[in-house]
């Protein structure tokens, strides 16, 4: 009972017309055929790759420097006017903006149109697991490229390949500040130290107050890889491991730049050997003798083999697909499959589908705004074509796309989304959707094709009694059964 509905609503992104029927013959098969190979976007929004966007933005940054210099020259004559001109002009943001808008539109189109909604939901799951946030200016217009370039190709591959692709993606490196993390014994730091020593021995104290550039590591990426991407916060690592790992991945950077940061293809991952802390390092009880970039990759591979990673990933998958409080038996089953298969993700997903808890008819997940919007688009069989309608929708509903605000991603429990004010915003949006799509739509038919056996009789009665079809559509979208999955 309700097997097709569970497959399509809970594991997929909500039913398009006909989808419940298509899944009815073999709901598990309908799911498992989706998780093979790469998962390209559906829809037709043209997107630029991250390296190209980066190159544009670097040019914009140079332009800003130029304008600042000019303004500084003019400021003597017209101090307030020049400063205001600089403040108002943000070419970096302007260069990023069209890319951000295109990525958000592309994401919504793909969710609305895909014929592999389970695979698409997994793409979303991993994007949130490996969260970058566009509210950081440096990644505003490349946040969405992580999903399309690092996650879509590997979502049905091995976890280690997914992880490596993500940690070497420029959006992740820029978001967690690794591009300028420098080992104290690196060539760059040592050269600077020798120069400084020469300067002092020559007795040149031209500007004693000038702060010397201090080279050192930045722990941000290393810590979040351990805490949020692999082992989990209770994975047993210490501050010493965080520091060691940060040293291991010094040099993981982005190509392009000037002076001592020249080199590499602009906007692509680039290992900067001159920033890298040389030598063997001990992390998590093991000494790594690999050289350069391979040292960090060896650590990532070991992290994927750690049972703590299997457990952490399994817990998050079960929480996302089954219930806010993950049933331990299901977590156990998925974690075991992770370990046994060496992190081969289709095996992991198969274990999730096989878990009896996954097929409990009770809908335990309250939809996030994303779930709500995407399932609405699918129920109505429509796809957005203007970036503004998508961005306004998600601003209204409190889940601006690619902007979770923190590297932990969006919260994945009902309690984080079920505020009374949030409900009022959903009602407002549902009423607008109702007004826009009432023409040619029979709300009772939409209820049947989008919810199947989950439609309650009292909801059908309410739809029939509604004073208009726009009101009926809004009632359907706000019904408890449409708000859950």
């Amino acid at each position: 009972m309700l097997q097709a509905e569970i497959a399509v609503l809970r594991f997929g992104l909500g039913a398009r017309p006909g989808e419940l029927t298509a899944a009815a013959g073999d709901p598990r098969g309908w799911l498992s055929t989706q998780v093979k190979g790469a998962v390209p976007r559906a829809g037709n929004v043209p997107l630029s790759p991250s390296d190209q966007i980066f190159t544009e933005v670097m040019a914009a940054r140079d332009e800003r420097q130029e304008i600042k210099r000019e303004a500084a020259g003019r400021s003597a004559a017209d101090p307030s006017g020049a400063a205001a001109a600089v403040a108002a002009f943000n070419p970096v943001r302007d260069a990023y903006l069209p890319h951000y808008r295109a990525q958000v539109l592309a994401r919504a189109q793909s969710a609305a149109l895909t014929t592999r909604p389970f695979a698409e939901r997994l793409v979303h799951f991993w994007t949130n697991h490996f969260a970058v946030s566009s509210d950081k200016g440096a990644v505003f217009g490349i946040a969405g490229t992580l999903e399309n370039e690092a996650i879509r190709p590997h979502v049905n591959g091995r976890f280690v390949d997914l992880l490596t692709a993500v940690e070497q993606h420029p959006a992740m490196i820029a978001f967690l500040d690794n591009q300028y993390s420098v080992g104290k014994e690196s060539d760059l730091a040592q050269t600077a130290a020798r120069r400084e020593a020469r300067r002092l021995s020559n007795g040149r104290m031209d500007d004693p107050d000038k702060p010397r550039r201090q080279f050192g590591i930045n722990e941000n990426l290393a810590r979040e890889i351990l805490e949020l991407h692999t082992l989990g916060v209770n994975g047993g690592y210490t501050q010493r491991d965080v520091t060691a790992f940060a040293q291991i991945i010094t040099g993981w950077s982005i190509g392009g730049g000037k002076g001592r940061l020249a080199g590499g293809v602009p906007g692509r991952f680039y290992f900067r050997g001159n920033l890298h802390e040389p030598g063997a390092k001990t992390f998590f009880g093991k000494t790594y003798y690999e050289q350069g970039q391979r040292q960090g990759e060896a650590v990532l591979a070991d992290l994927c083999r750690n049972p703590a990673t299997a457990r952490f990933v399994a817990t998050k998958l079960v929480r996302h697909f089954i219930a806010d409080d993950p049933p331990p038996a299901a977590v156990e089953r998925v974690a075991k499959a992770f370990v046994k298969s060496g992190g081969d993700l289709p095996h992991v997903y198969a274990a999730l589908i096989e878990a009896p808890e996954a097929w409990d008819p009770e809908m335990k997940k309250f939809k996030t705004p994303e779930d709500f919007v995407f399932s609405t688009l699918r129920a109505l069989n429509v796809s957005p074509f203007q970036p503004d309608e998508v961005t306004r929708t998600f601003d209204l509903l409190g889940q601006r796309q690619y902007t979770p605000g923190s590297p932990a991603g969006w919260p994945d429990t009902s309690r984080s989304w079920d505020g009374s004010d949030a409900l009022m915003h959903r009602i407002l949006w549902a009423s607008r959707v109702g007004a826009r799509f009432e023409q040619g739509t029979d709300p009772v038919d939409v209820a049947a094709s989008s919810l199947g056996g989950y439609v309650r009789p009292e909801t059908v009665t309410a739809l029939r009694r509604a004073s208009s079809s726009k009101q009926a559509l809004a009632l359907l979208l706000m019904s408890p059964e449409f708000q859950r999955r």
């Binding site: 943001r93 810590r223 916060v233 309690r415 079920d418 409900l423 009292e458």
Partner: protein, 414 residues
Amino acid sequence: MHPFHLATTRRRFLMASGALAASAALPNVLFARTGGSARLVVVILRGALDGLAAVPPYADPDYAALHRELAISAPGIPDGALLLDDTFGLHPSLAFLHERYRAGELVVFQAVASPYRDRSHFDGQNVLENGLTKPIGTADGWLNRALASLPPATGEAGERAVAISQNVPLILRGDAPVISKSPQATPDVDEELLARLADLYSGDDWFSARLSEAVQTDKLADDGGRATAMSMQTSGALKPATPERVSGVARMAATLMRSAGGPEVAVIEAGGWDTHANQGGAKGALAQRLAGLDKALRALADELGPLWAQTAVLVVTEFGRTAAMNGTRGTDHGTGGCAFLAGGAVRGGRVIAEWPGLSRTALLDNRDLRPTLDLRSVFKAVLDEHLHVDARTLATRIFPDSSGARPLQGLMRA
């Protein structure tokens, strides 16, 4: 053919349609209130504010060498700190807080921390909000447990507390009814639709409780002045999180608290404090954030008007940051940090800090400011002296395993 008649306000309409009957099964939702005059606003700074920049220990002999170009100079020097005492100052962006300090309405805490000693934002925020010594173990927050412990009182309808966001953060989750309200207005929701939804939700406690809260909150915002709420509506898309946004959130809190039957407690959240790179000093990224916070607190006070005299505003963050600047002109996750308690009800004009110093031996794990005061000692004092929460309940249900964190005395004006 629909069985409803139109009414002038959503509230009256829902009364007619039976939504209030549904929520009457949960009397606290609509009819409980202390009637007390104290107001409390908790501001959570997510991302870990650098306490050594916000409250610079300018006289510490190791401070400038460790914090380097991120350090704030001594008072009196251009771009120097605002003077607090002979050890500490305030970041120059915190002009309003400094005014309050001089008016005797601000207590500054330095070298303070929750019981959490690791360096994860997310676990750190959980401990800050759940009131336990560890990040997991309860799904509710200490502020909610404190409100739930207060005796119900009669009065105008309305919950005791509001979260100024679409959803309720952990600190306010729990048995005591709370509402959420974002500055983004929902002006044109059709009242008939709301009434029909109330009907549709009548078999689902969870949805019907949420809906009556939502309608009630809208009513409060109406009373407090819809014009204010409208003016704060975030228009269009893609606006960055500017300081103006935090000010809007603060003004919303004040508007609701000022309205008849409005909440006594509000929680505000502000992000963007995780300054791993290019943090800046007297000017720069963090300085701008602090200026935004300062402006928001000023807006809160202005909007509260006469209520400010009975208000306490507690500003907290999950932990501090490293004493030394890192390799990317920022700071990494640390331990000891700062906190603020401001308001007309506060016995202020003081810095409370048992300063451990920043020498190599004084630092925790060779890197962080060592905390010498437990944040729960501050929380307990505020709940005890300001909201009159029972002392035994504080020591047991609200902050379990907190016998080591005795409440501070005399934080509030009598």
